[in-house]
């Protein structure tokens, strides 16, 4: 493995103590599939960003997000990209997971696995947020959304999508709508029902996982990303409806936090 000279690395090999611990029987009590974990959201939390938001799901998932309005875009690499840049701005997403964010072993920052995972999350975030933005108003520029995952207790991408939309709205870029994310999953048991906003353990055991993002005012879906043991289109459709309904239920919380931030900013003037 190549040595990372830009970080202090410590010993070559180390293992999480949980590897040697007696297996924990972490069987959770069955939960109401309709229940949503309470969500705490606050916008305008960072000083150095144009816009920012913090989203926490009860149970522990903590996501911090910063957004910057239109900045000068770097030189486009190809002629086609340059032509596209003249028509509309670009959204760039960055996703970082704190090394201590997950249970078990520490995630090694900069390792190939970690970089790949972060890049996939960033790509998924961009797909979910791009439809909310009026990018054609910002030709030749880029907008930046940067996410830091502080603690992973499940439904991370969904929380990041909600936080990202809040941060962008807080930064004052023109948008079509907010985006609300929600995750759901279904256990391996064939009779298992879909549960909303699964925790980390539920996600790990799940046979099927799905994350959806909704633009509530336009009733459009900006992200669907699901995988697992196969299902019929009807199965997936049912899950999608279930997830979108949850997004509608989460929307007022996000909206309220954004209104509060807007009021606070106004008072600070």
């Amino acid at each position: 493995m190549p040595v990372d000279h830009r970080r202090l690395c410590g010993p070559e090999e180390s293992h999480a103590p949980a590897l040697w611990a007696a297996e924990e029987g972490g069987d959770e009590s069955p939960r109401d599939p309709w229940a949503l974990r309470p969500l705490f959201a606050r916008a305008a939390v960072l000083s150095q960003a144009d816009g920012s938001a913090y989203v926490e799901l009860s149970g522990g998932t903590k996501v911090l997000c910063a957004a910057w309005g239109p900045r000068e875009a770097p030189e486009p690499p190809t002629a086609a990209a340059a032509a596209a840049a003249l028509r509309m701005g670009r959204l760039q997403c960055d996703f970082r997971r704190a090394p201590f964010a997950s249970r078990g072993a520490r995630r090694r920052p900069g390792s190939t696995a970690e970089r790949d995972a972060e890049r996939d999350l960033a790509a998924a975030l961009r797909t979910a947020l791009e439809p909310t933005l009026q990018l054609e108003r910002y030709p030749r520029t880029r907008l930046l959304v940067s996410v830091l995952l502080l603690q992973d207790e499940g439904s991370v991408l969904a929380a990041a999508i909600s936080a990202g939309a809040l941060a962008l709205a807080d930064s004052g870029v023109q948008m079509y709508d907010l985006a609300v994310g929600c995750a759901l999953c279904r256990g391996p048991d064939p009779s298992a029902a879909w549960v909303l906003q699964p925790g980390e353990a539920e996600e790990r055991r799940a046979a099927v996982r799905l994350t959806v993002a909704l633009l509530p005012a336009l009733n459009q879906v900006s992200a669907v990303q699901g995988a697992g043991s196969g299902g019929t289109p009807e199965d997936w459709a049912e899950a999608l409806c279930f997830g979108l309904d949850a997004c509608y239920r989460l929307y007022p919380v996000l909206r309220q936090s954004l209104l509060q931030a807007t009021c606070r900013r106004r008072r600070a003037m």
């Binding site: 309005g69 340059a82 003249l86 009026q134 079509y176 005012a217 209104l259 807007t262 900013r265």
Partner: protein
């Protein structure tokens, strides 16, 4: 907070497009006006016709240089063909981040374009008023012009490090050493006299 103020978030439906005209911070879709910002809803009635609905934020809007606007910029480098500048202000609004622009030799002044020399017009560090003429193409960034009497250098330091005073449309003088330096000087308007 004024209780009569109405706040909204992006995507919120404000009214039907028949009741009002869409102002800044809004967009129209399917016959309705929606907010595109998190901000405060304002309705101004026009004497003739429909009121204008707009959404305003208190912080400065995210402005971008656009064709025709006057910008304040700082010269970073010059060569025989053009001057490279950083755009700092749009009108009197400071930009949150720097955008780069180019003033080509032929856009420095309106007359005798063939006799213009870049180094006799700008020096690195000068503060220049210019107007955006194009967003540029895939190769170049914003193109600017100073070919108007009101455009050109507004603040410059002499070799001795002193702020110079304009003495004609093409010369500035150092108050300490009294040496004269060439510049494309702007006829300064009162609102830009700041320091």
């Amino acid at each position: 907070m004024d209780p009569s103020e109405r706040f909204c978030v992006p995507g919120e439906r404000l009214c039907s497009a028949e009741e009002a005209t869409a102002g800044s911070g809004t967009y129209t879709r399917h016959g309705f006006i929606f907010s595109s910002l998190a901000g405060c809803v304002e309705k101004t009635s026009e004497e003739s016709g429909l009121p204008v609905v707009s959404v305003v934020r208190d912080s400065d809007p995210q402005l971008l240089p656009d064709v025709g606007v006057v910008v304040t910029c700082k010269v970073c480098s010059i060569n025989s063909r053009f001057a490279k500048v950083h755009i700092l202000y749009i009108g009197s609004t400071p930009l949150k981040s720097i955008f780069r622009g180019t003033i080509r030799k032929e856009d420095i002044r309106a007359t005798e374009k063939d006799k213009v020399e870049v180094y006799k017009s700008f020096r690195p560090g000068d503060i220049v008023l210019a107007k955006v003429i194009s967003l540029g193409d895939s190769q170049s960034n914003y193109l600017l012009t100073t070919a108007e009497n009101e455009l050109g250098v507004v603040a410059a330091h002499s070799d001795a490090g002193m702020q110079m005073v304009p003495i004609s449309w093409c010369e500035m003088q150092c108050p300490r050493t009294h040496t004269k330096e060439f510049r494309k000087v702007a006829r300064v308007q009162p609102e830009f006299l700041q320091t």
